[in-house]
């Protein structure tokens, strides 16, 4: 089996811009004095608060929970006192209940935070339970509760687990640094997932622009392990789940389907690391690596940040803005979400805070489509973005659906490449929303 320089058809070369932070070792961010922890940080049902104003909490203590299966509990990232339970807008645009905790600076750990045992002694069920209790959700951006991913319906037999270390988004280096500095944890996390799913084959996919991470990972894999590090062409969107499965296994996830339909489960490297810490240290997911980068920030860094720390505070620790900021984005430039304000908290899915300068944030002038076909060439799903977009802009959503709008993974490669600077993915997104809304109604 080929293990090197794998890829999928389509995709686009994007400027990497990773040099700003790829050599910057992980550092702990300054302790926040107050954290603002939203109770809805994941796909699925929001959590209900388990604490009330005036309660004192410890680091890692559960403060929010939901009875729904598709949900993940929320833990405190500091030790201190609950000051307020109110509402906040999360960086993903959700208006969520928010627990405001003032830190007492002691960082005292919650009593339950202790090692859970070795992989040999833990059963599949126990591992999934630990992951659930630790509030682990997909940290690549989607925020899907991990225990749900690891509990596929009985008719879906999983045979392959892939850890996503592609990190194809420009600028971001949080996964890169994790692979480089904590390869043992990532491999442990992968083994835990494999045990939970009773799977023989594990892969870690890394783009060839991170060969140091590849050797770091390879150095902690024992020859007898069923784990292989595969290298991937640095191409966007190589880290898209379905593209990654295609590159690594050659399998094609059916339209509208999930990885489990082709017997695969994909997890991000940060998620694997969080799983390892949950088992080895009993540490719930209350902090994560965030790359703070871009030409709009003075000292780009890779920081380990506590969930609930306001973006503004994190940016301050990186020397503050470099001139007037143009855009503040959670995530990378290709799929990240631009923010109205820096008064939003870091959440479980915040892999990066990217600050673009005023000049970089300027929208370019849109001109008519010249039918150059570049959007077709780069589309990883083989859609024809120009036509879907044309229908969408005419509000003919049936037309855009016929051309496969719902298959769009919203990677934005089409908009990136378009010489006429047309809002291709933007309009397709719009039509997807309209199509789904209409379906719901009928």
């Amino acid at each position: 089996m080929k293990l090197d320089n794998l890829t999928f058809k389509g995709g686009v070369d994007v400027p990497h811009n990773k040099e700003l932070t790829e050599k910057k070792a992980l550092e702990y961010a300054k302790e926040p004095s107050t954290v603002y922890i939203p109770l809805h940080q994941h796909t699925g049902a929001p959590c209900e608060p388990l604490v009330k104003v005036g309660d004192s909490v410890k680091v890692g203590q559960k403060i929010g929970e939901s009875q729904a299966f598709v949900s993940a509990p929320i833990h405190s990232s500091v030790a201190g006192t609950v000051k307020e339970i109110t509402k906040t807008i999360t960086p993903t645009g959700i208006n969520s209940t928010c627990v405001v905790i003032e830190s007492d600076g002691t960082n005292e750990a919650y009593e339950d935070s202790k090692p859970k045992g070795s992989l040999e002694t833990l059963s599949s069920k126990e591992i999934i339970e630990i992951i659930k209790e630790a509030g682990i959700t997909g940290m690549g951006g989607a925020g899907f509760p991990t225990h749900v991913k690891l509990s596929p319906p009985s008719d879906k037999k999983i045979d392959t687990v892939i850890i996503n270390g592609a990190e194809c988004e420009p600028f971001l280096t949080s996964d890169h640094r994790l692979m480089l500095e904590m390869p043992d944890k990532i491999v442990f996390g992968l083994k835990a997932i494999m045990k939970a799913l009773n799977v023989e084959n594990g892969f870690i996919g890394v783009e060839t622009n991170k060969m140091d991470a590849v050797s770091a990972l390879k150095s902690v894999i024992k020859p007898e392990d069923n784990i292989k590090v595969v290298t991937l062409q640095p191409k966007y969107p190589q880290g898209d789940e379905k593209r990654l499965i295609n590159a690594v296994t050659g399998r094609v996830v059916p339209s509208g389907g999930l990885p489990m339909d082709v017997n695969c489960v994909v997890n991000n490297v940060s998620t694997a690391k969080a799983i390892a810490e949950a088992i080895l240290e009993g540490k719930p997911l209350y902090e994560r690596v965030v790359t703070i980068t871009g030409n709009g920030v003075k000292k780009p860094k890779n920081l380990i940040v506590k969930i609930g720390t306001p973006f503004g505070e994190v940016i301050e620790q990186c020397g503050g803005f470099n001139g007037t900021p143009g855009k503040v984005i959670m995530g990378g430039p290709m799929m990240g979400l631009s923010q109205y304000s820096v008064d939003v908290p870091v959440i479980k899915g915040s892999g990066g805070i990217l600050i673009l300068t005023e000049k970089e944030a300027l929208a370019e002038k849109v001109s008519p489509c010249i039918k150059c076909g570049k959007c077709l060439e780069v589309c990883p799903v083989k859609l024809q973005p120009l036509f879907i977009s044309a229908y969408a802009l005419k509000k003919d959503f049936e037309g855009s659906e016929k051309y496969g709008a719902l298959d769009c993974v919203e990677c934005g490669a089409c908009s990136f490449i378009c010489p006429a600077k047309r809002p291709l993915v933007e309009s397709i997104r719009f039509s997807k929303r309209e199509i789904l809304a209409k379906r719901k109604k009928s």
Binding site: K327, L337, S341, P368, K382
Partner: protein, 335 residues
């Protein structure tokens, strides 16, 4: 703001002024203007060649054609109160291509009329750049040829004395200019220029289409710059050549067919036009095959010696249909 509880301790900057938009937040360096500029650059060698072979008359026609194309585009956009878009350079390309299709001794009003027709009727009436369904320059050539056939077929041979003569393909089809009606085509073939002169462009024909060499230099530039791909022109020319052989054209005349009759210009610069050809890669192959078949059929069975323009125009009209039937299979969908 509703729902906002964060009490910003950080007021040093201007978070209220942040730009908010949907991703992606970065764009490639590609631009329509750059693509058009590349095409212009690619046409420059042949334009210089045309002045070398046919003299200042060629330059006059090229400049007149460009100037009138720009004028008509700006004028009609002003008239319809639309944004004037002559700075996207596309009208310049139309102007150059129209001039390239003219004999060197065409009167001044021929390129002006051609540009006017191309820009006003074929391009702007159908919505401007990207929306026209026919190649404007080729449509203009077709109209000029139908309206003033003697002006448009009265080709000058290279040189200062401006002697008129037939194109090599016309010689092969009808006999030479000096040959009487009774002379056979076989006798007339003696008048054909050498293959080398055919390749370099030292022979009769429209000003911009005679030099295969200079056109290919430009085409290579476009392929390297990834403005066009090699498939369409190669399949087009290949199909034409194979079908000509099947239809009985002799091997020793084949090179004249490939190098003459505007096939190189058409295949590399017109059959690769974005707006008027299919956007799908399978569609582009079908387009090229179709244009090749039509060109060979027109040359051997039809009433014209050349046939490139009409072949491409006919395939232009068929493009939306071809596009519809060659849509790529969406990833993960059943066949």
């Amino acid at each position: 703001m509703e729902g906002k509880v964060l009490n910003p301790t950080n007021t040093s900057s201007v978070p209220d002024m942040l730009v908010v938009s949907s991703s992606p937040h970065i764009r490639s360096n590609e631009s329509v203007k750059r693509i058009m500029l590349d095409v212009i650059i690619a046409l420059v060698p042949a334009a210089i060649g045309s002045v070398y072979f046919f003299g200042l008359n060629a330059l006059k026609l090229i400049l007149l054609s460009i100037a009138s194309a720009l004028f008509f585009e700006a004028a009609i956009q002003k008239l319809f109160k639309k944004e004037v878009t002559i700075n996207d350079y596309s009208a310049i390309i139309t102007g150059i291509l129209i001039a390239f299709n003219l004999p060197a001794n065409a009167p001044w009003w021929i390129p002006v009329f051609g540009s006017g027709f191309a820009i006003i009727i074929v391009k702007q009436c159908f919505g401007g750049i990207g929306s026209n369904f026919m190649n404007p320059a080729l449509a203009a050539r077709a109209v000029l040829l139908a309206s003033w056939p003697n002006i448009m077929s009265n080709f000058v041979l290279p040189g200062v004395d401006a002697v008129t003569g037939s194109t090599p393909l016309a010689i092969m089809k009808y006999g030479g200019a000096d040959a009487g009606a009774s002379a056979t085509v076989a006798q007339a073939v003696q008048e054909l220029p050498s293959i080398m002169n055919m390749f370099i462009g030292n022979r009769g024909g429209a000003i911009g289409e005679t030099s295969a060499l200079l056109l290919l230099i430009g085409a290579l530039y476009l392929i390297v710059r990834k403005v066009i791909n090699w498939k369409t022109p190669v399949i087009y020319i290949g199909t034409t050549a194979i079908l000509l052989l099947i239809l009985g054209v002799e091997m020793n005349q084949l090179m004249y067919h490939i190098l003459g009759g505007g096939l190189i210009l058409g295949a590399f610069f017109m059959a690769t036009d974005y707006s008027t050809t299919p956007v799908t890669s399978r569609g582009q192959i079908i387009f090229a095959l179709g244009a090749g078949i039509l060109t060979a059929l027109i040359r051997v069975k039809g009433g014209f010696p050349e046939g490139v323009s009409y072949s491409i125009l006919l395939m232009n009209v068929a493009s939306p249909l071809i596009e519809k039937f060659t849509a790529p299979k969406i990833f993960g969908r059943a066949k």
